[in-house]
Symmetry: D2
Subunit: 163 residues, 4 copies
């Protein structure tokens, strides 16, 4: 299972990248987990569903109807922003597309949990600081396009003991 993170308010480029990422993950046989809402999350879920994949949305509130229409399994948590920690904990690796503050928190929480994070647009962080801090499987990689993002994420997910 791969987590895809990105903002609820996304521009057309970000949505296009997210849809391609979702499609490629589904084609690779991976389940997609995300925050279940609009923007990047809806576009990635749409891409996955149109390619026959499976999608899970970890929602901040209690209403499953707040999930986007491409979510197979809405998980309403009621946890507010703390649900971001659950989204990234659920992925063997994380792909972050574009991004607001919520996305940045997910990048940081995933790195803290020792996950590989692949960014496609959006936040850039001081690479030396990131490398110095990384423990376990933590790594922050920059992808140039959706295919590279998915390839890098799957590389982490399919190493033994990735969890």
């Amino acid at each position: 299972m791969i987590a895809v993170c990105g903002p609820h308010e996304a521009d057309q480029d970000e949505r296009r990248l997210a849809e391609a990422v979702g499609r490629l993950l589904a084609e690779a046989g991976e389940t997609l987990v995300c925050g279940g809402r609009g923007g990047v999350m809806a576009a990635a879920s749409r891409g996955a569903k149109l390619a026959g994949g499976t999608t899970i949305g970890i929602l901040p509130g209690y209403d499953p109807a707040a999930a986007n229409e491409w979510t197979d399994h809405p998980i309403p948590t009621g946890l507010g922003e703390a649900r971001n920690a659950v989204v990234v904990a659920s992925g063997a690796a994380v792909i972050a597309i574009g991004g607001g503050f919520g996305t940045l928190s997910e990048i940081a929480l995933a790195l803290k949990l020792g996950k590989r994070v692949v960014t496609l647009g959006g936040w850039t962080l001081d690479p030396q600081r990131v490398t110095r801090l990384s423990r376990g499987g933590a790594a922050l990689l920059v992808a140039r396009d959706p295919a590279e993002a998915v390839r890098l994420a799957l590389g982490a997910a399919r190493q033994p003991g990735h969890g």
Copy 2:
């Protein structure tokens, strides 16, 4: 999606009831969500999978490998006991089988969230107090067997606006 709650340490009777509940939920086309671990959770997930259903396990820790082998989608949360609130928030209704203190917390949290809870063995609570406190769709119903438990749970889940 229906949540099934019950203890990690369960006796043979509880596991048998849980497996039947899982099977009947799958035959009714419902996804099963539970705490993802052993005992009642594993037995219900096994029943669902053997009948071709889908299972989600919301885990207390960060290791997806802690999920039982019948879990399609492990959701490692790292939330400890607070993950119980996520399990019940994810179900349109809750079936509680047997039960320890964790199960009792899930019954209570589900009722607090206005969900219908069906018990099959295990905890009994003062019915007058429960009725007086119930708001929204909250109700605590006692089932005599797995078929009745699933029928009562589906009755809640398929009412409009159950979420």
Copy 3:
């Protein structure tokens, strides 16, 4: 630190009991932690403050102004009902006064975490089942009045290694 649990909507008797419990905890030099809202929570906090004690309120939402006026330190969590797990985790022992479903969830979560729980009115649970399930320091004790409730709670809190 002792946790006091009870409903936001409480009758006069419950509020009177809660205020006495808060006062006695403060006189014993204990900090009071609770859910920070009205009813039993406000009455217990008022009792503690009028006796010179310290109070902490673990709130379900993000607004510190939702805390009752007797709360020294509001902790807004945004966690919704999952904050109940934090309230009981914060107490060396728990006193539950009266109670709705939220209170019942706190009793159950505290017992699951191995804490001593003292009830004053409210929920009663099958004592044999509770005893059979109890691990570590978990125990459910019934107090007849505020003085006994505080005495029993302090007995747990002041044993070595109670945490």
Copy 4:
């Protein structure tokens, strides 16, 4: 109440800055909330306590004894990394000193919640992106020394409706 964030593993410079921040917050009459552990958290709490202040530590695990010795009120949550969301939700403003991935997640979560964040060393983020994304009272300010950090944080905390 002001939140102070920073890594458990901190160098001498970071600890010196943190202790000065803690002292200045206490002298200004503010309660300090942090993650309750070592490094920056312990140094800030030490500074606050030596100046007569009050300290609260929101811990990731269940053991209150994991709090540093300068913590008046340990809040064991059992929430793992999700406790970072509670730390920043509890502060009217946030001061981040040095920092690892956990600190970065706290900066991001605080900005998402509309808080003012003051950094003292550590992470730098693209200021244009931050400004474009900021809603409500969210702002990311860079302080040159502890006195400026505290002054900027108090400026946010003492505006009406800061919560």
